[in-house]
């Protein structure tokens, strides 16, 4: 891997000197990468992004861009493009003047400037809108102008803070694809902030999951979904069933653990961040990984768990089945509509099973 374009080295931030908002952040961002900071509200994503842009000063640590410490560099000297959630278009300037502003600041001659502005507007499919005022555009169009303004001076790094947060669902999906294509086309490094996991999965090469100011996991979308590092990530990305128990045995060779569930049954699972034998653990299983069949458990597989259907929910392309396991715990299973079994109605006897490699044992989250 070539030298990272951005390095966070032990970066910390607190606004009031007491409450940590970002705790000891070490993060390398590769050139050309689309990296998303994903996390619940207040987890420190915007703060991290604004420190990189230069609008906030780290309390400790250092940020390097292109190998250079930028801690003392004011934002207007960093040459980083930024797209804000509120668009932040200059209301007194036309669309073309907005997009041309970074070029004007750089002293580019008028003729070249208007050619570049026209190309940038073309790129975001707003050719011919140059003379309009921002207030005369729809939300999606305004955000495209903001994108063009952040890209027009060809920065190697562009930051976006929830750029689609104010748009409706359909427009979001459309703009996500556009942002993705722009990224592929321009080869620019993008650091993107969102609290929408679907958006993060759609766009990103890698996702950094934030919680309480710390990166919980930094991985490619598939890794993040299939191998979450802890119970928080498993809960935050996608759906999961959680079964409480206690670690009873560890097989370090295969990376498996045996967990005694609260109901009395024991099962094998991949070893997440759970403790050693005797520690409390939560076993996480994705709903789509749960096999289920009507009738007694033995018919499905020898270690299937007997269960009873609580309810089924029809969702067009798939069916969700809520089941009460023997021992009292509840799980949700998800079947594609083609594989749905009409015998699985509320009250029916059923059995559930899953592969041990589709279950992961985590240390419980605080409060579990």
């Amino acid at each position: 891997m070539s030298a990272p374009i951005v390095r966070f080295l032990g970066v910390e931030k607190s606004y009031d000197g007491v409450t940590p908002v970002v705790r000891h952040l070490d993060l390398d961002i590769a050139r050309g990468e689309f990296l998303t900071l994903l996390g619940p509200s207040g987890s420190g994503k915007t703060t991290t992004l604004m420190m990189l842009a230069g609008f906030e000063v780290p309390t400790a640590g250092r940020i390097e861009v292109e190998g250079r410490d930028v801690s003392r560099l004011p934002p207007h000297r960093r040459g980083i493009g930024v797209v804000f959630q509120s668009y932040a278009l200059f209301p007194h300037m036309s669309v073309a003047e907005n997009v041309g502003f970074p070029l004007e600041v750089r002293g580019m001659a008028r003729a070249e400037r208007s050619a570049r502005v026209a190309r940038a507007l073309e790129m975001v499919r707003l050719g011919g809108f140059g003379e309009r005022r921002p207030a005369q555009l729809s939300g999606g169009q305004q955000q495209r102008v903001a994108l063009a303004r952040a890209l027009v001076f060809e920065p190697s790094l562009v930051l976006m803070d929830e750029p689609l947060g104010a748009l409706d669902k359909q427009l979001r999906a459309e703009m996500q694809l556009e942002i993705r294509h722009l990224h592929e086309q321009l080869g620019v490094t993008v650091v993107y902030v969102t609290h929408d996991q679907e958006e993060a999965l759609t766009l990103s090469d890698r996702i950094a999951v934030f919680h309480h100011g710390a990166v919980q996991q930094l991985d490619a979308p598939a890794q993040l979904y299939e191998r979450p590092a802890n119970a928080f990530v498993a809960r935050f990305i996608g759906e999961n069933n959680r079964l409480a128990g206690t670690v009873s045995e560890i097989d370090s060779e295969d990376g498996m653990v045996k967990v005694a569930l609260a109901g009395g049954r024991s099962l094998w699972a991949m070893r997440g961040d759970c403790g050693t034998a005797g520690a409390r653990a939560v076993v996480s299983v994705r709903p789509e990984r749960i096999a289920l069949a009507p009738g007694p458990a033995a018919d499905l597989s020898e270690d299937a768990i007997p269960a009873r259907v609580v309810e089924t929910i029809y969702l067009g392309d798939h069916v969700r089945v809520r089941l009460a396991l023997e021992g009292g715990a509840e799980v949700m299973a998800k079947r594609p509509i083609a594989a749905a079994d009409p015998r699985l109605v509320a009250g029916a006897e059923a059995a559930v099973a899953w592969q041990p490699e589709h279950a992961i044992a985590f240390a419980p989250e605080p409060g579990d």
């Binding site: 842009a53 934002p75 207007h76 980083i80 509120s86 668009y87 932040a88 278009l89 600041v105 207030a135």
Partner: protein, 274 residues
């Protein structure tokens, strides 16, 4: 409902009567002085013997009045330029910075607005005399700057309150340094507030008489100061012409402020949709 009962009707009539009386009381001085300035006679009383512009001719032809108009304009222009610049910068600084004691600084800045002008005038006389600023244009301009700046601070602050700070970040992210961001982004957007502040400042300087009484030498007498003198030394209806001109100018200034405000409200309304 209540308007239909006799008592309710009476109440409404009383309300109208009181309102009219108050309005009459407020405009009476203006209504009394303006017609006098067009009198063909030479006494301060009604009925007018006839109409003429003779007092306006006298006003513009006598050095006594005309020089004071020039003084008012010089001092007003100087004070307006200084107060607008300083007041705008002060408002901007207070808006940008978050520091303890911000409220205190603001209070000190707008103190001249609330301290009785005679107190300010006496203080200024004691402060300016030793450094040679009494009886000078510079002294008058500085004094009026101090009196007018608070109005600029207040109007510009009001405009800045509706200013989206993210625009400053967007400007910086576009590569604009603070000076350019101020010139290209902030100033055009707060221009109505700055202009309103400038008009206020000019109006303050134009109307000011107490400080002028204490601080202006014979060479710097402003129009209101001269009217004050004219009452004793030089009683003629030209003073009514002077008053009418002052009234007209003040109304023009305030109307412009009002027009700017309604225009910037419309702009803010458009910006809200962004």
């Amino acid at each position: 409902m209540s308007a239909r009962t006799p008592a309710g009707r009476l109440g409404r009539a009383a309300l109208w009567a009181v309102t009219l009386a108050v309005l009459l009381f407020l405009v009476a001085p203006i209504a009394a002085i303006v017609p006098l300035s067009f009198s063909a006679g030479s006494f301060l009383h009604y009925p007018l013997p006839g109409l003429s512009l003779r007092w306006y001719r006298e006003f513009f032809e006598s050095a006594f009045w005309f020089d004071s108009v020039i003084n008012s304009l010089i001092i007003g222009a100087g004070a307006t330029a200084l107060a607008t610049t300083l007041g705008t910068l002060a408002a901007l600084g207070l808006w940008l910075a978050r520091f303890p004691g911000r409220g205190l600084v603001l209070a000190v800045l707008i103190a001249p607005m609330v301290v009785p002008s005679v107190v300010v005038a006496v203080g200024l006389l004691f402060a300016y005399a030793p450094v040679g600023l009494a009886n000078t244009y510079a002294g008058m301009i500085l004094a009026h700057t101090a009196l007018a700046s608070p109005f600029v601070v207040v109007t510009v602050s009001a405009t800045l309150a509706g200013f989206d700070r993210t625009l400053l970040r967007a400007a910086a992210a576009s590569g604009a340094g603070p000076a350019r961001a101020f010139r290209r982004i902030v100033l055009p957007l707060i221009a109505p507030g700055v202009t309103a502040g400038a008009l206020f400042a000019f109006a303050i300087s134009l109307d000011e008489v107490v400080v002028a009484l204490f601080l202006a030498g014979p060479g710097q007498r402003t129009l209101p100061r001269q009217m004050f003198a004219g009452l004793n030394e030089h009683l003629s209806l030209a003073i009514a012409a002077a008053a009418t001109l002052l009234i007209a100018l003040s109304i023009l200034l305030m109307a412009t402020v009002w027009w700017l405000r309604s225009r910037s409200d419309r702009l803010a309304g458009a910006a809200d949709r962004v």
